[in-house]
Each structure stands twice: as C-alpha cells, then as structure tokens.
Amino acid sequence: MEFGSVDEIISFATEREKEAVAFYTDLAKQATMASLKEAFEKFALEEEKHVELLADMGSNKEKIDSYEFKTIPDLKISDYMVEIDYKEGMPMPQILKLAMKREERAVNLYTIMADKTDNADVKKVFNILIQEESKHKFILESLYDDYLAEQEG
C-alpha cells in the first residue's frame, strides 16, 4: 500500500476508523443486554473520536505539527492471544479480547505503514495514528487487567 501524500493517508485512515465505528455500532444494535449495548456504544464513540481527529488534521495541518507524542505503556495482553470471532451472547471478557485484538491489529498496520515510508510528514501522521490506537489498546487492556485482578481469587 503506497501513499503519496498526507491527505491520502488521512483519507485511508478515516475509512478504516469509520469501519471501526460501524463495527461497534452494529454490535451495539445486535446486543440484547443493556450493559453490552452500552459498552459497544462507548467503543464506537471512541473510534468516532479518531474520525474527528483525522478530519481536524485534514483541514488543519498545523494540528499535525503540534501533536504531542507520549509514551503509551503496552501491556501486550492481546499480543499473545489467538483471534476469536464475535458471537451473540459472548461474555464481556471475551468481547474485551475481541476489541483489544482489533486495536492491536490497527497499531500493527500503522506501524508497518510508518516503516514503509521515507516521507517525514506521512510518517508523522502514521505515528499519530499509532499513538491513538495504542491509547485505545491500553485502555481496553487495562480494563481486562483490572477484571483479571478482581477475579483471580
């Protein structure tokens, strides 16, 4: 996958993030349990924030320059898990695994793309996306980690 400009990346990433919004929104619609519906809606909202962030960058390139990079801890919980498919009635811990894996795949995809390009601007946009997806992965893995800590008895 080759990208010639920042706009092309933003356009590609926006489509990907919109797909994630649609994925979680669809799960929210399917969910029969109120609590699960709420969780999926929250995930969809998080992905929606990425779409907004990308739109903001597309219209205002200064946003890219002023973006602040931080070290996001990587608990690597999902990294060693095998892929699972969504099934209606799946318990929340399984759903978290599913969501963590999606975020991990997104981090990996953007990391590969960042490595492939020599264009500094393009690389920076990918690095922003890596950071954003890493934040999501960390939030989800922390939720799972807390759940494990509470339930290990």
Binding site: S35, K76, S142, Q151
Partner: protein, 466 residues
C-alpha cells in the same frame, strides 16, 4: 487485660508438610479442648466488638468464645448457628485475617484472637459429640421457595427461610449438593464429610433437595413459578471456566481449574481406581494464576504425585490474591512460585499432547492514574518451561445457561446478574440472586452474607409483598 494479651495465640497443630503433600487428609488437626479454652480466654469480651462488624454474617463472636472459655462447647456451637449455617466451613475457609481477626482489638498490640480456629473447634466438637439436634423451625407458612444452586449463599438462604417456616426446595445441577464446597475446595482443606453433615442438618430442618436438576435446561425459572413456587433464589455461582486464548491452549494436558478440581474433588479422581474418574497426573505441573483456587490446584497436583509444581503469576508476591495461610501452606509443600511471569504460548507433540510452554518476564510499570502498577512485559525476555500438565486458574465467568433462559433478568456488563446489593432483589419480580453469580468469584462468607440479606428480603416479600 495485659495478661490476656501476653498469652500467645494458639498455634494450630498441622500435618507435617512432607507427609501431607502426598495425602488428601485435612492439613490442620484442630485445637484440643484445653488449647481452645486458653485461646478463648484471650478474648477481651469487648462491649462494642469490632470483630462482629468485620463478619459479613455478624456471628456473635464474643458470646460463642465466652462459652468456649466456660467449657460449654455445645452452647458455643449453637450460638454460632444462630447466625451462621456453616460454622465448620467458615472456620476453615474464611479469610479471617481480613475480616473478624483483622478487626480484633487484641491484634492491635499483638496477634489477634484465633477466631477462625475457635469457630472450627466449636462446630467440630458439636458434630462429633453433640446430640445432632437442629434449630427449631417456625410454624409452616405454606409458601414455597425454589433455591437454585446449593453452594454457600444458597444454603444460607435455605436455612434462614426454613427457620421462618417456609417450604424450601434446593435444585442442584450435580449429583451431590454443596456447590463449590464439594466440587471446588479440596478434601485437605475442607473434608466433604463436614459439608455433608451441614447439608444433612438442612434436610432435617425440612429442606427438599433435588440433585441432577439444571435450572435453565431441565426446568426454567418461569416453570418453577408455574409449578407454584412463590419466590426463587438464584445462587448458582460462577462456574464457567475462563481460558487465556493463547496459542496451543487446546493441547491435551491443559485443564481449567474448574474441571481439574471437579474431577478430583466431586468425582473423587484422587481415589482412582476406587472411583472411576480419570484425572491426569502430571509430573511437571504449571498452575497459571495465584488465587485460592490456584493454590488448591497446585497443592492437589502435588498430592497426585507431581515431581514439580510451579505457580506462574504475572504480578509480584504482594499482589497474589490467595490467603497468606494458603500461600504459606503451598510453599511448605514445595510449590514453587514463579512471579512476574506470563505465559505466551504452549508447545505440544504430534499427538496434540502438551510438552511445554513459553513465558515472558514482566516488570511492574509506572503507577497509572489509579496508582496501580501494571505488569509490563520485558522485551526479549521469553523463556521456555517443560511441563506435561497446565491448570489455568485465572478466574471464571458466570454461566449463561440460566440467565439466558430467564427473560427479564437484567445482567451487568460482565454477564453477572444485576441484583440490589442490600437485598439481592433482581429485575424480575419474585426472583433474588446472590453469591458469585452476582459478584463474580468471591469468598464463601461474602456469598453467605448475600444469602442472609436476600433471605431477609424474601421473607419480607412473602409476608408483606414486593
């Protein structure tokens, strides 16, 4: 007062670690009458006993201890029964250090009164020497209660409602009642004869127990109401095993703790071939997790003949959730703790049998906003273990069998039943729930506390309305 505090806390006589690590007999041997009376004399008989506040079922602690100090052991047992249907169980498995003993005033300046040891002593004494009489039940009310499950919370509900004169039927999915007390906690920690005796007491009080009945499959909650039940209590525990979704987790030789312990305890696999239950007897065993269930699994594996048993846990010693007593016993029995280590994948041979596993060393990261230091992998620290048996003990989920077949029963996001924490009332009229199916895996005594609260609320409903 100072003399009482200076008397050292009783030391529980125990089986020698080298001997007990190869047998399934109970580890603590119990206090003698003399030891119990000396220990009871250490109690300050506080006017406002904090120990009672620390007990989820408000056992009348100073009162039963006073009776022991006066050598009225039967009276002490009966005093316990006033608030606790399972004193012999609680004396063995409650985390007293975090509850009653954690609040004991004697413990502020020295070691707390050994309330758990004394509870075990009184209940055992009565079982071995008492008349076998059970508490008197009130005049029959004609109300029918269905109790689903027969673990600690269900037994408490059943006992409390029987006392108030209601008819109680307990529905148990397995062939024996007792729930986690019989399928989960091993013989060496809780002899099954004790559970059987407590259940027999309930039957003497009038409980009807229907085993091999899976509510949610054999009969639904709605059908129970159609059959004339006035109220239903759901106390089915959290018995759905959880796995880690790692590569190779389906190899032969990898058990959930749930299956491993059920085969060994409920189905008496440790007595094979006397009991026809196959159970894998690994030589190099790894247990994943560090809670009480993990310790039970590790100590069971040692008793089943393992040469080496390792407990692999991704956090540090301070975070191990098992009781200190269980950790201490495990270490005495030569269980090795491999800390700050996380499994990443399993290896198997051409026949699909487990041969080993890969792990990763962890370190505790910087504290996050909540102050928690989470385990973070150390880059490039992968290493391998040889093992022929792995027991995954990282908690369990709520089984959806009953909840998914009960319309209108609201669940929380983890799939547990949403119930009022003060009363156990669910979103369904006439249905209560408590114990692990509501809270997720917790302690026996917390489940009993939930059962006590629910029984009070159910009695109010049966006499006053919803």
């Amino acid at each position: 007062m100072s003399k009482k505090i200076k008397t050292p806390r009783a030391k529980m006589p125990e089986q020698d670690p080298d001997a007990r690590r190869r047998n399934f007999e109970e580890v603590p041997l119990g206090l003698t009458e003399e030891m119990a009376m000396i220990e009871a004399s250490r109690c300050l008989q506080c006017k406002k006993p904090l120990c009672v506040d620390g007990c989820p079922v408000s056992v009348k602690i100073p009162e039963f201890i006073k009776l022991i100090s006066e050598k009225d052991f039967s009276g002490a047992a009966k005093k316990l029964w006033e608030t606790n249907a399972l004193p012999a169980v609680c004396g063995r498995v409650c985390p007293q250090e975090d509850q009653c003993e954690g609040k004991c005033i004697v413990g502020k300046k020295g070691e707390p009164v050994a309330i758990g040891y004394l509870e075990k002593f009184a209940a055992d004494w009565e079982r071995e020497n008492g008349s076998g009489e059970v508490p008197k039940v009130a005049k029959k009310t004609g109300k029918k209660i269905g109790v689903v499950g027969s673990g600690p919370s269900a037994i408490t509900v059943a006992g409390d409602l029987l006392l108030k004169g209601h008819d109680v039927t307990i529905f148990e999915a397995f062939h024996k009642p007792g729930g986690v007390l019989v399928y989960g906690i091993p013989e060496f920690r809780l002899p099954k004869a004790i559970v059987a005796s407590e259940i027999a007491g309930l039957e003497k009080m009038g409980a009807n127990i229907e085993c091999n009945t899976v509510v949610g499959a054999s009969v639904s909650v709605d059908e129970l109401f159609e059959e004339g039940y006035d109220a239903v209590y759901i106390g089915v525990g959290a018995g759905l095993p959880r796995f880690m979704n790692l590569e190779g987790e389906n190899f032969i030789g990898i058990y959930s703790a749930n299956e491993y312990l059920t085969r060994t305890n409920l189905m008496k696999g440790y007595l094979f071939p006397e009991y026809d239950t196959p159970i894998a007897r690994g030589k190099n065993v790894v247990v994943l997790g560090a809670g009480n269930v993990a310790m039970d699994s590790a100590r069971t594996a040692m008793r089943l003949g393992a040469d080496s048993v390792k407990v692999v846990y991704r956090r540090s010693r301070d975070e191990m959730p098992a009781r200190n007593e269980e950790l201490h016993h495990a270490e005495e029995e030569k269980i090795e703790f491999v800390l700050l280590t996380n499994p990443t994948k399993f290896y198997g041979d051409e026949n699909g049998r487990l041969t080993g596993m890969e792990c990763l060393k962890m370190e505790l990261g910087e504290p996050d906003d909540s102050g928690r230091r989470r385990p973070v992998p150390i880059e490039g620290s992968e290493f391998d273990f040889d093992c022929d048996l792995v027991v995954v003990s990282v908690g369990s989920n709520a089984n959806p069998l009953l909840t998914s077949s009960t319309p209108g029963l609201e669940l929380n996001r983890w799939g547990n039943i949403a119930a009022d924490p003060a009363t156990g009332k669910t979103s369904r009229k006439g249905v209560w729930a408590g114990g692990d199916i509501v809270t997720g895996a917790a302690t026996v005594i917390l489940a009993m506390g939930a059962g006590r609260d629910a029984a009070t609320s159910m009695h109010d409903y049966l006499t006053l309305g919803w």
